[in-house]
Symmetry: C3
Subunit: 346 residues, 3 copies
């Protein structure tokens, strides 16, 4: 797509400040801007770059107030990220799907596959699988018995989907993610040996979910491990058996959630967070990266930090004192001495 | 399998409390129980559900004392989880293995493969590999030169096993796990560049081991990285080169163990734990999730928490004070003021 | 290779202490030494083993001073690890590459592949890919559209490389690593739903880089995620979109780096470290395992620990006090009581 600032402003409901006729044909970053491209300014840390970027147009927020003259044409919008998401879609090469099954794919004859779905090289599709329309299944994907996959689903190379998994519409799963491997369940016997508990449940993924590369989601012991509509999971995340994650919750990379825990809706969970099993996390909970959640969180929209996590501001206050703990120890020692002297004098 | 409460009680050595003739044909969870199914109660958090579950039978512990009338038929047993493990096996569809080699598998003619072992689609088996009897090798598995695999081993899709790896009997390896990739060993030169140290050892896995999805086990620099009999590793775990893990130790997801560390027998290690290299951990050690172990643990059966980890109860006590550190700081400040006033008055 | 102590000393520029004619034909560990093999002593923890090792020769540092008689022949060198790296290379079986394309590989006719590069079974190579000379592409590797790969590159089984990725010379990528999956970028709308921001950038990897098993490197939103020359990444690491990592930086397993952060040159980053997005880390920074870096580090060669990380020695000092926080709390309480008594008496 090539478009003028004016045309772009119409697409994203923005206002042009500068030359409405300047043409752009793709996006670029603001700090190494490129002539003929459009960039964006959202994080204030990058504001310094707008004054001499080589980009031809920059998206800015309605409330951006430059502190010197801006030469580049700007388009101001209410929400820069939403505008950007819309534009990036326009600029990205539309992938035209054509229904095609690669010769080297092993597709069981029992599979039911919708129109305009493409199955690439060396995919394995086992017994009794249903796949919807307009899907793309990349190379080296494995789809086990009885799996159900909705419409417009993209499954990138090397994803492994165990038997009985259910996946909704408009889902994206990145390379080498694993869905439906056995939950980690063992019964210790009297000798301290562990006997495997069969994991006979499955994984159910809602609509409009994205799952990152090398992320693992375990099948339920019985019942289902469930990922709600609109959930976004980053790379290398571990979701244990019987977990459920509420709608529109986002989780950053390398976080782990232990068995049977229920995460609420619209939570924001940072990277490398650990959450113990068998607890409930209220809707809208925010958890700072690397925190450890050891018990249920009942209040909605609260913010947490630390291991075990406490209220966010409280953690910051305590940690500020932690940094000066040897001073504090010395102060106590000095006080004790002062008092002892005092006592001996009186 | 369909069976009466009475028949089930005989299988798991339990006692029926209620109707011995009620029939069940599979498991269900207690909180959304299903008529005609058997559930179980172990975690006291779920006790509330037993009074109105729709399940037809519930397994309970011998020491369970209901605090109101229970309508459902119960079977009481000494260890609910062991009983459950036995029953789940009975209910799970037995997978009948038939010896079959998929046409699209690339199997080197030098491979020796035992009876009733099945090699699925697009498996790659390189030179001089031995695989035992009654194994199942799922699609997209790679088995490198000289690998030895025992009997009754299940290897799920996408697992990659480097050359010279040795795997015992009754092992389960989940999707996309990697065994035998190079250890992380480099020699810095005078210019701060790193020269790779060839990793010429291997990985040796004992009997009755389970290895989770996307877990990585590095080959030894020389000698072997060893996983003892009965060890259970969850998903996304990192085991570095030359580590050895003692028998019947269990490790939860996302934990990492650095090079040459020796873990004892029957340890229980939580998720996201980090253990430094070149140390020894005594038998029966328990390590709380997210802890960091920075030096050897010599006392058996001790419990640890924190980064760097200290004795578990000590961590909890210290952390309780950490939460009120700003109060503590204020108290010191007030004391100092009181004393200063006192001094100036006297 | 079989060689005498004397011949080996010449290769690694060392000095023989003992029998110059003793022969060895491979490496072994010092604690379970093997007759006819060469071992090494670097970590002082292992010094005890030198007095009765069964190895025939042991590499030691120039400054090693035994505290009893040593029977085994020693070769002393300036840097044991560099000497070891050189020797291990000599002892490891040289892999002879022959140009060969496996029949079961799916290679698009548009691919340009250099001399003496081998493409193994079931590799998928998509449109317009260039691969240099002397490379080995193992089984089940996926290489997307327009990928460029240099000379002497080893790509182990199951690696997935998304479109437009660029890889330099002498790179090693271990099994099931993922390069170029979408960055984790979403724009929340007014209803708390997340709209995907297209990720149209790529991943650029320099020369002489090693990337561990199951590590994930996300493609840039626009521009490139860059891994500098000589960088070594261990297993299960997450590198988010638009991150850049400076030359000769090493990162241990399970560390995660959030979006757009710039890591300097020659940094040493421990395992399970988390680094937030949009910050800069100075050259030569050392970060202790499990630390969390929450803001930019400007001073070169500094050392950090904790979450959020503070100066290393300061963390250790504070943590020493943390361990006795309940004592400290009691002391304050006692002081207060003493003063109160004092006041009431005066």
């Amino acid at each position: 797509m090539q478009a003028s600032a004016d045309q772009i402003a119409k697409i994203i409901n923005g206002k042009v400040i500068g030359d409405p006729h300047v043409m752009v044909d793709g996006p670029c970053k603001i700090d190494d801007g490129i002539n003929g491209k459009i960039s964006f300014l959202s994080n204030p840390k990058y504001a310094q770059y707008i004054y001499d970027t080589k980009a031809s147009v920059v998206l800015v927020s309605d409330d951006f107030v430059p502190d010197q003259d801006v030469a580049v044409t700007m388009i101001s919008v209410e929400n820069v990220y939403v505008a950007l998401a819309i534009l990036m879609d326009k600029f990205s090469d539309g992938i035209t799907l054509k229904s095609s099954f690669a010769k080297s794919a092993d597709i069981d004859p029992s599979a039911q596959i919708g129109d305009q779905t493409s199955v690439d090289e060396q995919v394995i599709i086992k017994n009794n699988v249903h796949i919807g329309m307009h899907c793309r299944i990349y190379g080296h994907v494995f789809i086990g018995d009885n799996v159900r996959i909705g419409d417009r689903v993209m499954i990138y190379p090397g994803v492994k989907i165990y038997h009985n998994t259910v996946i909704g519409d408009d889902v994206i799963i990145h390379a080498n993610a694993v869905l439906g491997s056995d939950g980690f369940g063992f019964a210790p016997d009297a000798d301290g040996r562990y006997k495997k508990i069969a994991q006979v449940g499955n994984v159910v993924v809602g609509n409009d979910v994205e799952i990152g590369a090398n992320t693992t989601i375990a099948r339920a012991t019985m019942g289902s491990t469930t990922i709600g509509n609109g959930v976004k999971l980053d790379n290398l995340i571990q979701i244990a058996h019987n977990v459920s994650i509420g709608e529109h919750t986002v989780i950053a990379a390398q976080t782990g959630i232990a068995g049977s825990t229920k995460i609420g809706k619209r939570c924001m969970i940072g990277g490398q967070v650990g959450i113990v099993g068998h607890i409930e996390i209220a809707d809208g909970t925010m958890i700072q990266a690397q925190s450890g959640i050891a018990s249920s969180i009942k209040e909605e929209n609260s913010k947490w930090y630390g291991t075990p996590a406490i209220e966010y501001q409280n953690y910051l206050r305590s940690y500020a004192q932690f940094r000066r703990l040897s001073d504090m120890s010395k102060q106590i020692h000095d006080l004790k001495k002062t008092i002892d002297n005092f006592k001996s004098e009186n």
